[in-house]
Symmetry: C2
Subunit: 147 residues, 2 copies
């Protein structure tokens, strides 16, 4: 099982994961709009953004987006921001999420990142236990402002 | 009062703001290491990162870093991540922080961002009230993992 940047051909599978967390969505049913195409191209062409997929031999098992943020803290090291973490609904509970997050942390460490950070909706108590079990400190409040 | 990218000449002033939140640090006393130089150059040359300073006529009054994250959510719009928010210690309580955050949100909106997000240490109750008063929803838990 490896974690690597998604190919354009895998975009429908990633959009299917993002579309519904609670059931399996058929990638063939996803409409890849021009806005999605553009966002995918923006991520793929940005050296500090990666749309990463967890794959074995076959289809996409899970995904996340990593953004590597340069900054003046921590001796000038990058920090990795993780968003859009998903495991295919029918594959949950088998440790794939743990593998996905471990591989993402390894990848960030390999780049020289000093920190991985993420936020999780306050209603997702299961996710909070999961991140805590991976060693994450629940040290911050996460604020969002819609524009 | 305007918000604009910091110049290289203002880097010591920004590092002074980041060095101590509770007292005024003299920018002349800050050692600008090679790592800080490199991080500043990384931010300045990245079209999705900005080290922004709040200035009037004279010295730097406050700062923050904005990272514009492309993504597949919200119709493919960017989201703005805000980090390293500071107002000079002797200028607090005069509404400068509010102005700083409003100008940063305007700037993000002007780029087409759909959302601004940030995290604040759980111990900073004053900061939480401040962000709530600006309309931010405290909807998420913020997790950090040191690498």
């Amino acid at each position: 099982m490896i974690l690597r940047p998604a190919t354009r051909a895998e975009l429908p599978a990633v959009l299917a994961l993002l579309a519904d967390e609670d059931r399996v969505v058929d990638p063939a049913s996803v409409r890849v709009t021009e806005a999605y195409e553009r966002a995918f191209a923006d991520i793929a062409s940005d050296p500090r953004n990666e749309l990463l997929v967890l794959v074995d031999e076959g289809p996409v098992l899970g995904c996340l987006q990593a953004t590597y943020v340069p900054g003046l803290g921590r001796g000038g090291a990058e920090r990795a921001l993780i968003e859009a973490v998903r495991i295919r609904a029918d594959l949950r509970g088998a440790g794939l999420g743990r593998r996905l997050m471990e591989l993402a942390a390894d990848r960030a460490r390999g780049r020289g990142c000093a920190l991985v950070q993420l936020t999780s909706n306050k209603e997702r108590a299961d996710a909070h236990r999961f991140y805590a079990s991976l060693g994450y400190a629940r040290s911050h409040e996460g604020f969002k402002l819609a524009l």
